[in-house]
């Protein structure tokens, strides 16, 4: 199949070359026109996608009266930055924020550690039961996480970890999906490097951290960022295992704030912006890795 495709494309290339003069004629005014239409449509679509964000930021800077004015005001008379300060006063968003940072960073570091080690074993070592174990792990990806929540709740409660950070972190310090992604990447590093390192007297452990990990940097970063985003935004599990207000991560705190803030939409939008902003910033700087990770996750099929 692959060969056939290659042959096809070779054939087409040769063929296209001979007709090259004619091909250029096809970039006509019609082509240009359709490109302009494409730009217009894409701009309208992109603006529509941005409206909720713009509306959130706009409302978060308004006075209470401006927030509920009809027709809506897009740009408030005075930018009320103090809405953000007030949101921090009305609910312990500072504490929520620290909770989220703590939970996200520990579960991300933990997951990277456990999955890098496991992916190394699956990609560069051979052991009894390797294929069976890997198949079982991949099969667990088919089971919806929502099904696991009930027994996990009982496990956490039996371990006496209800209302602790550990309850929110422990179940998420390993991920089959990440092991799968990193295994694929480690396998693309040639085995010759592994043998060469062994001949030079390097241990497996040293080879993993000094050669394999640096060579797989972009895949690891992709896994890491997808994990950070997932962990930062996770809602149902932290909601279930905490009822202590001071342990809540941001999304759970924000959800509770909707009843606390009532109809103060300017505060509600300021609080939402506090939750959304860090991931948007990470996205703006590292979107290359996120998109790479998502593309790969699609390919796993």
């Amino acid at each position: 199949m692959e060969e056939l495709k290659e042959k096809d494309s070779l054939f087409f290339m040769k063929w296209a070359k001979t007709k090259h003069v004619k091909e250029t004629e096809f970039v006509t005014s019609g082509e240009k026109g359709s490109r302009i239409v494409a730009y217009i449509l894409l701009s309208i679509g992109a603006f529509t996608m941005l409206i909720p964000f713009l509306w959130m930021i706009s409302t978060s800077l308004k006075s209470p009266a401006e927030a509920v004015s009809m027709p809506p005001v897009w740009i408030p008379q005075v930018f009320r930055i103090e809405n953000f300060r007030r949101a921090f006063e009305v609910a312990p968003f500072g504490r929520y924020f620290l909770n989220s940072v703590l939970i996200t960073s520990i579960s991300t570091l933990g997951e990277l550690l456990t999955t890098i080690l496991a992916a190394f074993a699956f990609s560069k070592m051979n052991f009894y039961g390797k294929n069976i174990l890997f198949t079982i792990l991949i099969a667990t990806m088919m089971v919806p996480g929502e099904l696991m929540i009930i027994p996990n709740y009982l496990t956490i409660s039996r371990l006496g970890l209800m209302n602790t950070y550990a309850a929110m972190i422990l179940p998420y310090v390993a991920s089959v999906f990440s092991v799968f992604m990193l295994k694929q990447n480690f396998e693309s590093v040639p085995n010759e490097l592994y043998y060469a390192a062994k001949v030079d007297g390097s241990s497996d452990f040293k080879f993993l951290w000094t050669i394999l990990v640096p060579l797989s940097k972009s895949a690891i970063v992709a896994v890491m960022i997808l994990k950070i985003i997932g962990s930062w935004n996770s809602f149902m599990w932290p909601l279930i295992v905490t009822n202590d207000r001071l342990l809540r991560p941001l999304p759970v705190g924000l959800q509770a704030f909707t009843t606390e803030a009532g109809t103060q939409y300017e505060l509600l939008m300021a609080a939402s912006a506090i939750v959304v902003a860090p991931m948007v910033i990470i996205y703006l700087f590292l979107q290359r890795y996120i998109i790479m990770g998502v593309s790969k996750s699609g390919l796993k099929g």
């Binding site: 087409f12 290339m13 296209a16 091909e23 096809f26 359709s34 730009y39 894409l42 679509g45 996608m49 909720p52 509306w55 959130m56 927030a67 009809m70 809506p72 456990t114 080690l117 496991a118 074993a121 051979n126 052991f127 079982i136 792990l137 088919m142 089971v143 929502e146 099904l147 696991m148 929540i149 009930i150 027994p151 996990n152 009982l154 496990t155 039996r158 422990l170 179940p171 390993a174 497996d204 930062w232 809602f235 149902m236 279930i240 999304p251 924000l254 959800q255 009843t259 939409y265 509600l268 939008m269 939402s272 959304v276 996205y283 996120i290 998109i291 998502v294 593309s295 699609g298 099929g301």
Partner: protein
């Protein structure tokens, strides 16, 4: 791959696998087995976690529960509302993105942006957009001569509100997958078709669509699976209620209610098993399809 497995290499591998396996076994493998068992618990003491009886009662209960059927019905409506529309929109945008070169990356970034944001936070923003009196949506609709709609409190419109939010949130993910698929199509097919005088629409139906088949299938199956699991959006959009009059009660919301609010663990687990079986059908369908048509 490297060497033949030996006891020594197996022992070493176990050391590397141990931390991951400890977590996965405790929080993924064991719960899968246990939730299957739980769905057959008929007499369960929450405090001592002792099981005093097994049976099929939980399944009888949910199949006789009108709100379970309502949840199933709502979830299917949600899936049917989100997946096809999202595919048409995201494929169109992906094709337009491929057409332009200048600013293409910029546009792609914007379309993908909702994907990285907290579902809860952004659902609260949409709740405000849907506000019956001061919301942006009703303001926009007023230009079309539409009277204000109570999206959040009118059971006839709550599902529509949820579907629009979900399409907006997931569009970027589908666009990325379609771009991967489109980039894999050899440009020469298009050049050849152009030389033969095929019009834009003809090139789309005769080249793009057939060659995009596997991607299309992948996107729809992933969309269906993810849509079946909708919960956060419902919870935040309707302020910790499954919509007015249960109009946005989904399967996962039903599980959440039974388990978290009513402590009916067995019934919740049984509903979870039904959800798993529905998703399993789609996963198997996808795997069968991949084996047959996708070769990479």
């Amino acid at each position: 791959m490297i060497d033949k497995p030996t006891f020594k290499s197996s022992f070493k591998a176990i050391l590397y696998l141990f931390p991951m396996m400890l977590v996965i076994a405790t929080f993924n493998l064991y719960p899968i087995v246990r939730s299957f068992l739980m769905s057959f618990y008929t007499d369960f003491n929450i405090f001592t976690q002792a099981v005093n009886g097994y049976g099929l009662d939980n399944f009888f209960t949910i199949f006789n529960d009108t709100s379970f059927w309502l949840a199933i019905r709502n979830t299917f409506i949600f899936v049917l509302g989100v997946v096809p529309t999202s595919i048409v929109l995201s494929l169109t945008i992906a094709i337009l993105l491929k057409k332009v070169s200048f600013l293409s990356g910029f546009f792609r970034s914007i379309y993908f942006l909702p994907f990285v944001t907290s579902t809860v936070a952004i659902s609260i923003v949409w709740n405000w957009i849907y506000h019956s009196r001061f919301g942006l949506m009703n303001y926009g609709l007023s230009f079309l001569g539409v009277d204000p709609i109570a999206f959040i409190t009118d059971p006839n419109y709550s599902m529509l509100a949820l579907v629009i939010l979900a399409i907006w949130k997931g569009l970027g993910f589908n666009i990325i997958l379609f771009l991967v698929g489109l980039n894999a199509i050899n440009e020469n097919y298009y050049s050849a078709a152009k030389i033969d005088g095929a019009k834009g629409w003809q090139r789309f139906t005769n080249i793009t669509l057939p060659l995009l088949g596997p991607t299309m299938f992948l996107v729809s199956v992933m969309g269906v699976i993810n849509s079946f699991k909708v919960f956060d959006e419902v919870f935040a959009l309707f302020q910790s209620r499954p919509g007015p009059a249960g109009s946005a009660l989904t399967v996962v919301y039903y599980i959440f209610q039974k388990f978290y609010q009513e402590s009916q663990y067995g019934i919740a687990a049984a509903a979870g098993i039904v959800l798993f079986l529905i998703i399993l059908v789609f996963t198997l369908l996808q795997m069968a399809f991949n084996k047959k048509f996708v070769h990479y």
